[in-house]
Amino acid sequence: MGLTGALLPGALLVLWWIASDKGFLAEQILPPPAYVYETARDMIASGELFHHAGVSLRRVVVGFAFGAAAGLSLGVAMGLSRRAEDYLKPLFLAFAQIPTLGWIPLLMLLVGIDEALKFIVIAKGAFVPMVVNTFAGIRGVSPKLIEVGRALKFSDWQTLRLIVLPGAVPSIFTGIRYGLTHSWTSLVGVELLASSEGLGYLLVWGRQMFWLDMVIVAIIVIGLVGFAMDKSLDRTEVLIQRWKREELAA
């Protein structure tokens, strides 16, 4: 963020400060920045903030890993086999139409409100974009390349490993990116509905106790985690592209 970019947040912060100091802004609408700062400090000092962030991150990592792996498998299967596509795609599309939030109450009846619920919901968030993008990526691999493989007498496995999957990597990566974003949104959703830990729960807690300072701290942390995930995916993407170029050059 350049200096100019920092002007607006800075100005808003000052405005917020003055407005709450002079009482233009009621505390129950937006608490003074000092409260938010104090709350953040206290929650960091007590370890509470890290605890809840840790719980949420763990849920996302586990749920995302399952969802992404399942999505990758289904995407590859449908991408490689027309038969699998014909059988599975209509059902998958029907499944994908339903917003993740819609599944939560149904799953609550089926599996209760424990960790399993969170993992399934988060996995679902990652699953759909993973399937869509893996499938598109594989189908997007140039048939010419595959023919080259045939000419070189590649086995099916070699074709998959050396031609199809590398060709689909950029698209799969898009799937990972969307998948992670959706997982993160789903996490907040499921923690808002049924949880006693996690960042989403901090939102509920703060809302019920009318502690808007805590709500704002939770929002900031949710934003920061989102930001960090985004940035690290950017980095990975650059790395993968560089690696691909080197691979091609070699």
């Binding site: 505390e27 129950q28 209760g112 409100i113 006693s196 807690w205 009318f210 808007l212």
Partner: protein, 358 residues
């Protein structure tokens, strides 16, 4: 900030649409917005167990303003209970509300400008129900178990007090934050081990889907929870006469709800909330109607609110001290009692819980 301006824009657009739809009217009627920090079974807009619920179901406010074509009364029932009432007060969307002690103290601690006008639903008991086969027989067994209540409501504070009296802290149990309907579902499906609540739990036990193992009823009166009618300061200052009439109507509802011969009719009226009559009977068993439905801001009530404020601070439910000075506004209540000739209708209690001779 962008979000706020976007919101304002949306609000403006919605308002413009609304105006277009209704057409410009010469004289806008005054709408009195009344909130209730609970909701009936299956979201019915009714409740039970308080004089405010009587006022709603018996249309006491509507009757009071029946001859004023320009005054309308609008009720809103909140699934989100007391905390949601605070949000609505923060937006000036409510003028009066029935609200429990903890949420109104929380609201006051965070700067909501309200006044406590009269008691309603004070001295309500709290129940503890456990899931079938949970193996929980006494409060001490709750340690480490999944216990549900709705955070930020008066049941929350009362539950902590009960836990504390049995050597447990809030942190010793796994708190699951659920509203009343959510509690019923979770207890039936055994997703939780226990829950604090009231009529919905008695009902569940009557159906055989849970066991009530404890109630504050008959126990130390300090475990009870309080509630009352809270008004928005700006509205009260702008419309003192209307405020007086609103209080009058609530007092009349309290009077009728306190009259023992009305017991059956009262429960029938409250049944509009969807709670079966035998459950309400159980909820009021061994209690005099006049004891539960008294509107008085007596020494007992004031001292209990003070104690709740201290306890809330101590338990970390409120992070700054609440100043109750000037919050109680008995002026309207006293005038209503005088005018309706009810000055000695209800028995006031002292801070020690004993009747005061007046």
């Amino acid at each position: 900030m962008k979000l706020i301006s976007l919101g304002r824009f949306a609000a403006g657009a919605a308002l413009a649409l609304g105006l277009l739809a209704t057409g410009a009217r010469a004289e806008e009627p005054l709408v009195i917005h009344v909130g209730y920090a609970a909701i009936g079974v299956d979201n019915r807009p009714y409740a039970e167990g308080t004089s405010a619920a009587t006022a709603r179901a018996g249309e006491y406010l509507e009757k009071e303003f029946a001859n004023d074509a320009n005054i309308k009364v609008e009720w809103t029932f909140f699934k989100g209970a007391g905390p949601a009432v605070n949000e609505a007060f923060a937006n000036d969307q409510l003028d009066f509300a029935y609200q429990g002690d903890l949420p109104s103290l929380i609201g006051r601690a965070s700067g909501l400008k309200t006044k406590y006008l009269l008691a309603s639903g004070a001295r309500k008991p709290l129940y503890l129900a456990v899931a079938k086969d949970s193996g929980i027989a006494k409060i001490e067994d709750l340690k480490g178990r999944k216990v549900a209540f709705q955070r930020g409501t008066n049941g929350h504070l009362a539950a902590i007090k009960v836990l504390e009296a049995h050597g447990l802290k809030e942190r010793d149990v796994q708190v699951i934050n659920l509203d009343s309907a959510g509690t019923v579902a979770a207890l039936t499906s055994k997703d939780i081990d226990a829950a604090f609540g009231d009529t919905q739990l008695i009902n569940l036990a009557a159906k055989g889907a849970a066991d009530v193992i404890y109630t504050t009823k008959g126990d130390d009166p300090r475990f009870g929870r309080n509630a009352g009618i809270v008004g928005r300061e700006a509205f009260i200052e702008a419309h003192p006469e209307i405020t007086q009439r609103v209080v009058d109507a609530f007092v009349k509802a309290a009077e009728w709800s306190s009259d023992e011969p009305n017991r059956a009719a009262l429960f029938e009226l409250w049944h509009k909330s969807g709670t079966p009559i035998p459950i309400i009977e159980e909820y009021f068993s061994n209690d005099k109607l006049a004891y539960r439905n008294s509107p008085l801001i007596d020494e007992l009530l004031v001292s209990q609110y003070k104690e709740q404020a201290e306890k809330s601070k101590e338990y970390g439910l409120i992070r700054r001290s609440v100043d109750l000075e000037g919050w109680f506004e008995p002026k309207y209540l006293n005038y209503a009692l005088q005018r309706l000739n009810l000055k000695s209708f209800w028995q006031p209690y002292g801070a020690d819980g004993k009747p005061v001779n007046s």
